[in-house]
């Protein structure tokens, strides 16, 4: 029974993939929503291939991207993308806690408002040192504690460096959460609410729908990477804080500018958070020197809830004291 279903679904996937292969050369996974309109400029027209082999011309405006259509199956998601080793570089000098990365991530992965795979901390290493905003995705460590301690192989490391969680396999023991020194993992304490995809469309690369009693975390938007797109947080950031790329090509980009990974690490003295722990993260940070914004900019435009997060930071305490004195 189960076999039949999986056979059927693989056949369906084959047909779908075949169709997409044909159209993919012209546009990114489009389907025809309606037939072409009559009076349009030639540059608005796009050629697409129909399932019965005809080539049609359609208006670009009438094309709709099929979301999730190219999601990898659980099996496909185990192998990494060949020839790639992903790396993220976060420029702390540019971050002003706009929270757009967090929001885009929540939107993209159907997370509840209080579940954050990308979390922004306000760090201050010592009382006299400068505070700075610190976006923290999963670090996709090369020596990942979470993977070592998982008793059922639900969380795994791929050849392209990405660490994923298969929530169909996860038993919810939470050992990975205590193992991770960066608090990168989130537990589904109750049944998730709005989920745009159904169980059959589940892929560890997107991790939607979430499942109660299992662990979720940042997946470096592996679904986007498969389609040669940048992760959601990278494109959502208005300041271009987050760079992403392939370390084997020594190239990283924040969507606007593309730079050499090795050069920017050298020029800006890039570092990894808590290097001493030996987890070998794939996420690097550029120190907050020559900042684009003063730190307090990040506290503006925050709602009360989000503001209250940072009340215990030395810097915020001193700000509040100054206010009180005034």
């Amino acid at each position: 029974m189960k076999n039949d279903e999986s056979k059927k679904s693989s056949r369906r996937r084959f047909l779908k993939d075949g169709l997409l292969f044909g159209t993919g050369a012209l546009a990114v996974s489009p389907i025809i929503q309606s037939c072409a309109e009559e009076h349009t400029m030639p540059q608005d027209m796009v050629k697409v291939l129909t399932p019965d082999g005809k080539v049609l011309e359609v208006n670009r405006a009438n094309l709709k991207e099929v979301k999730g259509s190219q999601l990898a199956t659980t099996k496909e998601a185990i192998a990494g993308l060949p020839g790639r080793k992903f790396v993220m570089v976060i420029d702390l000098a540019k971050c002003k806690n706009a929270r757009k990365c967090t929001e885009a991530c929540q939107e993209g992965h159907d997370l509840a408002k209080d579940q954050e795979w990308m979390r922004i901390y306000l760090l201050q290493d010592g009382p006299q040192t400068a505070p700075y905003w610190f976006p923290r995705p999963c670090f996709h460590c090369d020596n990942p504690m979470c993977v070592s301690v998982c008793p059922v192989g639900a969380t795994y490391k791929r050849t392209d460096g990405i660490v994923l969680v298969d929530t169909d396999r996860c038993i919810g023991c939470k050992f990975c959460m205590t193992g991770c020194p960066y608090s990168a993992r989130v537990f589904n304490w109750k049944a998730p609410e709005h989920q745009r995809l159904e169980e059959k469309d589940y892929s560890p690369e997107l991790n939607v729908p979430a499942k109660e009693g299992t662990v979720g975390k940042c997946v470096f938007c592996a679904d986007k990477l498969r389609n040669n797109e940048l992760p959601r947080c990278v494109t959502a950031c208005p300041m271009g804080v987050i760079y992403f790329g392939n370390i084997l090509e020594d190239t990283i980009t924040n969507g606007d500018e593309t730079v050499r990974f090795s050069e920017i690490m050298k020029d800006r003295s890039g570092y990894r958070y808590l290097e001493t722990l030996g987890t070998v993260p794939s996420v690097f940070y550029l120190p907050p020197t020559n900042r684009m914004f003063p730190v307090e900019r990040g506290l503006e435009n925050l709602d009360e809830e989000n503001k209250s997060r940072y009340k215990d930071v030395e810097y915020v305490k001193s700000l509040n004291n100054v206010k009180k004195l005034k």
Partner: protein
């Protein structure tokens, strides 16, 4: 009485004057009839157990959100209870195993209590892991897709081995009594009980050959469960020790957990001895001597436990790495009284009570044991919770429940249910087989001079 002749040299101990007939006569009343109070107490425990089942039902239907656990403190008092119950199982491993191998004379009346504590707490402990697991329906994945790198897999292997070993050890030690009960004509018990005895005694006839085999098997098992228990408890400690979390990532954790386990197990041993002595009127068999001797074990282990605790916190405090210093600061502020109770009172009070002869009475030793037991529960709480409340990246959250752990009624109801099940199983067992081993009491000693 006939034993007297076989000892020409050694000083004869009074224990050897017991014979199985008179012992049987003394112990059978508890097996034959059951008082109304016994039933009422059993009913109370069953009610507590049912409350726990209700709590579990809430947790399964509404999700783990009904517990106090959240993203930072992902392991709450379930894990504390797990370590605690697993630790209690050490009572049997040490007292029954070691004392069996050393052939200590005084072990005889208390050895069965020790073995029972071992098996029952081992049966209960793993359930707390199950309560903590988000997907109970996938629990079999642990066996289906095991990854040997994970300390949890080590735990699964170690605990199952320990459980089988301890059940086997208990069974071997009750076998002779089962045969005795089966063959006793005077025993007035319902037919089904006799059937149980006949079935479980498995044709044991107490022949010389059978006795020899049994003795060999028990010696092997006694040695094995000591080793297995050390492994189980070390593996348990490594679940914490292998992580990078401040306060957990410590090489001392394996032996520390082993010592703490023996300490709490010995404490429970004294408590159960006291209860059975009172309730089943065993004053003749379990005397101050037994309390003192188990008390001495408690004292020695308590001193070790204190030493380990001191060594662990001293090095953390002296080195004062940022995270270690923060942890100790937290222990001495948010958790001040708990820390004082677990790591000062829990060590000093038992040592003072048992160490000073003037204070050494049955009731005071019982009191010291209660302090020990409570302190050790709190000790585990202080190992698990403060570390989880203090990750490397400071918790920056607007939800108080995400910052500080506070357990809910669901967790407490399931904790109480564990204690209730412990009591229920102990009560039921004591109605099936004498709580003092008849075969041990009548067993001839090889050389009484070596005994304490």
């Amino acid at each position: 009485m006939k034993l007297i002749n076989s000892y020409s040299k050694g000083k004869l101990h009074f224990m050897n004057t017991f014979d199985s007939k008179s012992l049987l006569k003394d112990f059978t009343p508890e097996i034959e009839k059951t008082s109304l109070t016994w039933w009422i107490v059993l009913l109370i425990f069953i009610m507590i157990f049912l409350l726990g089942i209700f709590g579990l039902d809430r947790q399964i239907s509404e999700g783990h959100i009904v517990t106090g656990m959240r993203d930072n403190v992902v392991w709450g008092i379930y894990i504390v209870n797990f370590i605690f119950f697993m630790g209690l199982s050490y009572a049997g491993a040490l007292i029954s195993g070691v004392l069996h191998l050393f052939k200590s004379e005084w072990r005889k009346p208390i050895i069965r209590i020790a073995e029972l504590i071992t098996v029952i707490s081992l049966l209960i402990g793993p359930f707390y892991i199950f309560f903590c697991v988000g997907r109970l329906d996938r629990l079999y994945f642990l066996v289906l897709y095991p990854r040997i790198q994970s300390p949890i897999t080590w735990d699964v292997i170690a605990i199952t081995t320990d459980l089988f070993g301890c059940i086997l050890f208990l069974y071997l030690s009750v076998l002779q009594d089962l045969a005795l009960l089966r063959d006793s004509a005077e025993l007035n018990v319902p037919k089904w009980k006799k059937k149980i005895y006949t079935f479980l005694a498995m044709g044991y006839r107490n022949t010389i050959a059978q006795r020899k085999h049994l003795e060999q098997a028990r010696n092997i098992m006694a040695a094995m469960i000591i080793a297995i228990a050390i492994i189980v408890y070390s593996v348990l400690a490594w679940i914490f020790g292998v992580t990078l979390q401040p306060g957990w990532h410590s090489t001392i954790f394996g032996p520390y957990f082993v010592i703490a386990a023996v300490y709490s197990g010995t404490g429970l041993m004294i408590i159960i001895m006291w209860l059975f002595r009172k309730i089943y009127h065993l004053e003749k068999y379990i005397t101050l001597k037994h309390f003192s001797y188990v008390g001495y074990i408690l004292l020695i282990i308590g001193a070790f436990y204190g030493y380990f605790t001191f060594a662990d916190y001293l090095t953390k405090w002296y080195g004062s790495q940022k995270m270690d210093a923060q942890l100790i600061d937290k222990l001495f502020s948010d958790f001040f009284w708990l820390f004082i109770f677990a790591n000062y009172a829990g060590i000093l009070i038992p040592i003072i009570i048992i160490g000073i002869p003037k204070f050494r009475t049955i009731n005071s030793i019982f009191f010291a044991a209660i302090i020990t037991l409570l302190a050790l529960w709190v000790n585990r709480f202080l190992i698990v919770i403060p570390t989880l409340e203090m990750p490397y990246l400071p918790i920056q959250d607007y939800r108080p429940a995400w910052i500080h752990y506070s357990s809910t009624w669901v967790e407490w109801s399931l904790s109480a249910a564990g204690i209730a099940v412990f009591a229920i199983l102990l009560m039921l067992f004591s109605k099936l087989i004498p709580i003092i081993s008849i075969s041990e009491m009548t067993e001839p000693e090889v050389n009484t001079e070596d005994n304490i």
